[in-house]
Assembly symmetry: C2
Homo-oligomer: 371 residues x 2
């Protein structure tokens, strides 16, 4: 297969994999696609470790990173946040909610330190993002993707000067134009069925709109893709490749806990819903007893990004220690309804390709009969 | 082109058009597709007139009707509703809201009669639906579609005994199974980007899920289709044809007012949003000053279906008389962002086909190069 995206990166398959897990990133690149490590919550030291591992395991195939490069950092966070920033209304509400539902508190002696460690991982300042990019530049990365607004133009140019391609993730045609002005090499158009921060426009509508709006800049289709028929639909709609995230969460390589994977395999399509619970911004996540805490009539409104993430840190620790599986949640798209068992990453790629080839043959027959 | 849906109805193009406008229905059937008249708010007398007109103008091509055949009518309405049923909280709120925003009231002498006439059009009882179907059976209809739950099995069988095919519209895989049990001939899987009453699952996810769940019963794809690339995507995802509604609203044949069409052409994708304002049930409609009345912090919750439709009747009359164009609304899908000018229905069909053929050729080339 030869799409513009295959040519741009010298890859066999126009399949891009977003994952926080190095094993998935390496496996997709080795299978002929391109793995992209999501490193928003990594320290530079941890990121270095992960990229060293990937670089050793990827057999020279290309890979990339996904960071947060907002055009205006100050809108998000002027400085790192600490436990002192925790908004009392939301923090107290959630603590009382977990107490009332029998989730044990953290051990009194260790609680403060554990919460502090979690909150320190939330890195949304310009300095933090720049340190992550500097660390990534120690490695032969081929792609940097950002997902929180258009990146600063000078940063795009400095990456491109090193031969690195820059991609911008968008959920609307209006956002796409801002990324084009910032000079990106490719656009990832993500429909609202995707996991994580999403807008309101579905993939069926968004992809062709963005393809037309940014041409000749190539577009990767994201949101709702986990099987070959959806890959074929993405190409039919004008995309030059696909970008998948959720589908790797259940793989044998995924570093999610067995409990979390089991909850994903049990979930139905509509259990992946848009909520402000996780980050304070509209984000598609797995519905659980924890997210439902914020759907109660007496719940306060969620705190803004990134404070809501900090509010949620303590509850996550409590739930994991209690192994309260009904309370587990993570970002995931509507494709979760199709995820029912663990497969290797390579098997996911090849199952997708098989259905893609079948689909293309079925389409071909449809047209041949039309002659 | 030969899909199962073309074979079932002996049509050239697997394009199904839902419209409340007889001219659109006839034009699509004549162009080689199949027009379906939405007759939920028609009296039997009016429906007879419309079908007589279609039958005279359709050159012997097949057409169908779309009615409301809920399995349990009693859940919706035991008897016809009247002005005496209007819930005071919602009625008073909306009246005061329009007053405060300078929309003149109806003329005092005529108001009562005008409102009564509007409310009488709301027909949700079993008796009303049966009278509509009996009327439709005076004509050689080929398809009856229902969109409010699975139809009673005996009604499906009695239609099939007359050689009429029955289709069921669904927004989730769970609903699809109920329709299959009721014995329908085809399923219309409608993603949440569609106009009108919709669920929460997007077309990209819903279509292949429903196709697999109801096989070998053929599926029409609905929700987000207005152009040839989307038609190709629908077939790639496993549908045997497409069902479009919104795209006809702006045609020269559409009987919407020029003001309403102008508002649709101005609208962006995200102006078609899911709201309870119109019917009391989740329904994708054009955002307007009227729908925003129900988004205000001090707004009461909307009344249940069908009472909310009755609540809204008076405001619609006031807005139309005032020609307050910013207040106009109608059900429409996210495809509204692509609707920018009036074309004939035939031209819409052929523009769609052109892009479809181009898309299929592009897909074919992609595979040929892969060899």
């Amino acid at each position: 297969m030869r799409t513009k995206m295959c040519e741009m990166f010298g890859i066999d398959l126009p399949i891009f994999a977003f994952s926080h897990c190095r094993d998935v990133v390496a496996a997709v690149s080795k299978a002929g696609g391109l793995g992209v490590l999501g490193c928003a919550y990594y320290t530079p030291e941890r990121l270095r470790e992960e990229l060293q591992w990937i670089d050793r395991h990827v057999d020279g195939k290309p890979y990339g990173v996904d960071v947060l490069l907002p055009a205006k950092y100050e809108k998000i966070a002027k400085r790192s946040i600490t436990a002192a920033d925790l908004p009392p209304e939301q923090t107290d509400y959630l603590r009382a909610y977990l107490d009332a539902h029998g989730i044990p508190p953290l051990p009194p002696g260790a609680a403060e330190e554990l919460i502090k460690d979690e909150i320190e991982k939330i890195n949304f300042t310009r300095e933090q993002a720049e340190r992550l990019i500097e660390t990534a530049l120690e490695f032969p990365i081929k792609l940097v993707v950002n997902a929180l607004g258009a990146p600063p133009r000078e940063m795009v140019e400095s990456l491109q000067a090193r031969g690195i391609r820059v991609g911008g993730m968008v959920g609307s045609v209006e956002h796409a134009s801002k990324h084009v002005q910032a000079g990106v090499d490719l656009i990832i158009a993500q429909g609202m069925e995707a996991g994580g921060h999403t807008g309101d426009v579905t993939s069926m509508i968004l992809w062709p709109q963005v393809v037309d709006a940014v041409a000749p800049i190539p577009v990767l289709a994201a949101g709702g893709i986990g099987r070959g028929r959806q890959m074929a639909a993405a190409l039919a709609l004008g995309a030059e490749g696909i970008w998948c995230g959720s589908i790797w969460l259940g793989t044998t390589e995924s570093d999610l806990t067995a409990d979390m994977k089991a909850q994903l395999f049990k979930a139905k399509t509509r259990d992946a819903y848009q909520s402000f619970a996780r980050t304070g911004k509209q984000c598609r996540i797995l519905k659980s007893k924890l997210t439902e805490a914020w759907d109660q009539p007496d719940a306060p409104s969620t705190a803004p990004l990134p404070l809501q993430t900090a509010v949620m840190a303590e509850s996550r620790l409590r739930i994991e220690r209690a192994r309260a599986v009904d309370w587990l949640t993570c970002p995931v798209g509507q494709i979760v309804g199709e995820m029912n068992e663990s497969q290797s990453t390579r098997q996911v790629v090849y199952t997708m390709l098989d259905e893609f080839v079948d689909t293309m043959q079925r389409m071909d027959a449809l047209m041949t009969e039309a002659d």
